[in-house]
């Protein structure tokens, strides 16, 4: 740990948030010789804090935002009054959501960056091309994969764009769910491939290979085998002695001077005492929900509608984590609670296809995703007994003989879907609560129904004795927070430029899921991290030229 920076001395860069984006930016900037302070609202947990206590990590949401302290409100359209609900879920500790993520690490395809050109406009949406292409981002996907350690098989995904390097690590061992999924998919003429995951299949750069404990999703990795920002870029940043990660530091406001430049950020420390850190530049990486909230809270005389919001688009075009889950029961034991969640995926339905009659597509995976308590509550299909001796006779078979498939679906960007500030409700620090306005586009729903049918086909082709799903209508919370500060060339139609610099404020950068123009097929972490590496490279060049 370096000596703490003094609040009154402006650091070169102040980074808000320490997840896939903030951690990577901090690592790149500090390695380039800049002084960096990272403000993270959550605590600084480490491997010793990561147990397999399902009650704590799953049911008491130990690693995510707590709506008792940070309430949210939700409505489907602006005509309604929003009521209290949890909709935006994010990792709230050093390392952010990468601490508890499943570790799926999908690059976007080339088509993801130019779907508006490929498909055409979609009425009622802000469906647009990105201002960058896959080839602009490719070197940074590679850099991220090598920095953190990603396991996969180059060339196995027939739809992937060109890659400059293979994965640094071979794929993880296939699980029974992967074998069955591959069998079913191949019978249907599809091309399944080993899932790319940010988990170590071998020892890598001083970290140990995965021990297959089965506690990836919603848990932290006690072995540091999960390539979270915490286990990788945060520690690399700290080793430079030029980066201080200040946990329990909840930013309430970014300040600007009379020239319209940012001067630093006000934040609450662990004792809820207000502090201020001066900085020459600020990089907001607070996630697709908290980033727009912070910019909106940072309004001033000069920026009456929120910082960097001359376009009026801060918070708008929120895209949601849409997914469909199908499960199947098989003859022999899978024991799929062991090891990582996902070992095989299929991208054959990834691209949109006019013949389907709607815009949309998805990547389909196979997984189990349940721990013992979760399975006891939810694991037996709803048409069978849910308690009593019959349930007890079934629950074990369903625990050991079941697998699921999750499809990761497109979410169209609509201006009416947004994050803003609730006019009434405050959080425990007295700051305006986040208000979420969201409803799905009809094509999103048609796409989910389509994907559900494809998933059922795969599990049936794999030989499942029973296949069940809960339909496409279970719209609950979102863990992939995208849109809300979209990137683009036109300052009237976007919040940041193609290097993530705010159009309105020369020394303010915004990089995280909020930068996304379209949703891809979810699994945004690899792209968030690649964008952060690319943005940091630009910040370094600009700062060296004196242009920040």
């Amino acid at each position: 740990m370096p000596a703490p920076y003094r609040a009154t001395d402006p650091v070169d860069f102040l980074v808000v948030g320490s997840g896939a984006a903030g951690g990577s930016v901090a690592k790149e900037l500090s390695q380039a010789g800049f002084d960096v302070v990272v403000l993270e609202q959550g605590p600084y947990l480490t491997e010793k804090d990561f147990t397999h206590d399902e009650l704590k990590f799953v049911f008491q949401n130990y690693l995510i935002n707590d709506i008792r302290k940070q309430p949210q409100t939700y409505r489907t359209t602006a005509a309604e009054t929003a009521s209290r609900d949890l909709r935006m879920v994010y990792g709230r500790q050093v390392g952010g959501g990468t601490v508890h993520f499943n570790s799926n690490y999908w690059r976007f395809l080339e088509l993801d960056f130019r779907e508006r050109s490929l498909w055409g406009g979609i009425p009622g949406t802000g469906f647009s091309d990105w201002p960058i292409t896959y080839s602009d981002l490719e070197p940074y996907y590679t850099k991220a994969e090598y920095d953190i350690g990603v396991s996969g098989l180059a060339g196995a995904n027939p739809f992937e764009g060109p890659r400059s390097q293979p994965y640094p690590l071979p794929p993880m061992p296939v699980k029974s769910s992967g074998v069955l999924f591959e069998r079913g998919a191949r019978k249907l003429g599809l091309r399944p491939f080993p899932a790319p995951v940010a988990i170590l299949s071998r020892d890598y750069r001083g970290r140990t290979a995965c021990k297959h404990c089965g506690y990836c999703p919603r848990f932290g990795c006690e072995f540091a085998s999960k390539s979270s920002a915490l286990a990788t870029v945060i520690r690399m940043a700290e080793r430079t002695k030029r980066c201080e990660v200040r946990a329990d530091s909840y930013v309430s406001r970014i300040e600007t001077d009379s020239q319209g430049r940012v001067t630093g950020a006000a934040y609450f420390d662990a004792r809820r005492k207000e502090r201020f850190q001066k900085a020459k530049a600020v990089v907001v990486c607070a996630n697709g929900a908290e980033t727009p909230r912070l910019l909106l809270m940072s309004h001033s005389n000069r920026f009456p509608h929120g910082l960097a919001n001359s376009s009026g688009l801060v918070g708008k075009y929120l895209m949601y984590d849409l997914g469909t889950l199908v499960s199947g029961l098989f003859e022999h034991p899978l024991n799929d609670h062991k090891s990582i969640d996902v070992t095989r995926v299929v991208f054959d339905y990834y691209a949109a296809d006019r013949r389907r009659g709607f815009y949309g597509g998805g990547g389909i995976d196979c997984r189990f995703g349940s721990n013992p308590i979760t399975h006891a509550i939810l694991g037996v299909p709803p048409d069978l007994p849910q308690w009593g001796s019959e349930w007890k006779g079934l629950v074990g078979e369903y625990f050991t003989h079941t697998m699921s498939s999750l499809a990761h679906a497109t979410s169209l960007p609509m201006e009416s879907n947004r994050i803003d500030l609730d006019p009434v409700l405050k959080d425990a620090w007295g700051l305006p609560a986040m208000r979420v306005t969201y409803r799905r586009h009809p094509d999103d729903i048609a796409n989910m129904k389509f994907l559900l049918a494809r998933q059922r086909e795969i599990l049936e082709a794999a030989g499942a004795r029973k296949v069940w799903d809960l339909g496409p209508d279970d719209l609950s919370y979102s863990v992939h927070l995208m849109g809300t500060c979209r990137m683009g060339a036109d300052p009237a139609a976007s919040v940041v430029d193609k290097y993530h610099r705010a159009h309105d404020v020369p020394n303010l950068f915004v990089v995280d899921g909020s930068s996304f123009v379209t949703s891809g097929r979810q699994q945004p972490t690899a792209t968030i991290q690649a964008l952060a590496y690319r943005a940091a490279a630009h910040m370094i060049e600009s700062a060296k030229r004196g242009e920040v």
Binding site: K48, Q60, K175, H212, C213, E222, F330, P372, Q386, G388
Partner: protein
């Protein structure tokens, strides 16, 4: 795993609590007896341990006194409503524990779609499988599920990946 010795110690502690018949802290005697009788129908004792052997009532008692305080009222009201229903369904019955198992199942079936039943069921599953530090006792629950609590595995993991991972199937 670094936490293993602590977990083992806590598990021993919970087993002792079940064996010695520790008195509940939040629930009164009648409520505790009702909950034990009801949760023993939700996860009955069969060839393997059920909610009773797992000490689910101790888990719920501790939960309501600590991290589930918000649900104290739901339990008070829920048990009162269930006892009222019992009196209607089984006139002259003295208490929930005094009903036959069949009668208790019928009573629970009549409230299956209520929020209180969902809460009771969730808490039962938690007590059956939660870490001993919460008063849970997962050993029997793990057996029912076929969960092997090794917390570290090596491939092959199941029947279907045996061949892919070097086995015979």
């Amino acid at each position: 795993m670094a936490a293993l010795p602590e977990v083992l110690a806590a598990q021993r502690h919970a087993r002792e609590a079940v064996k010695t018949g520790k008195q509940p802290a939040f629930l009164d005697k009648r409520a505790a007896a009702d909950i034990e009788a009801l949760t023993s129908e939700i996860v009955p004792t069969t060839g393997t341990p059920g909610a009773k052997e797992a000490g689910v009532v101790h888990f719920i008692d501790r939960a309501l006194a600590t991290f589930e305080q918000d649900n104290q009222r739901a339990y008070r009201d829920g048990l009162a409503a269930l006892n009222a229903k019992r009196a209607t369904m089984f006139p002259g019955s003295a208490s929930i524990p005094a009903l036959t198992s069949q009668q208790r199942i019928a009573l629970l079936q009549s409230v299956e779609s209520t929020p209180f039943f969902a809460l009771l069921r969730t808490h039962t599953m938690m007590g059956f499988l939660a870490d001993p530090v919460y008063g849970g006792n997962p050993a029997g629950g793990y057996r029912t599920l076929g969960f092997q609590p090794a917390h570290m595995y090596a491939p092959p993991f199941g029947w279907y990946d045996d061949k892919a991972n070097g086995g015979e199937n």
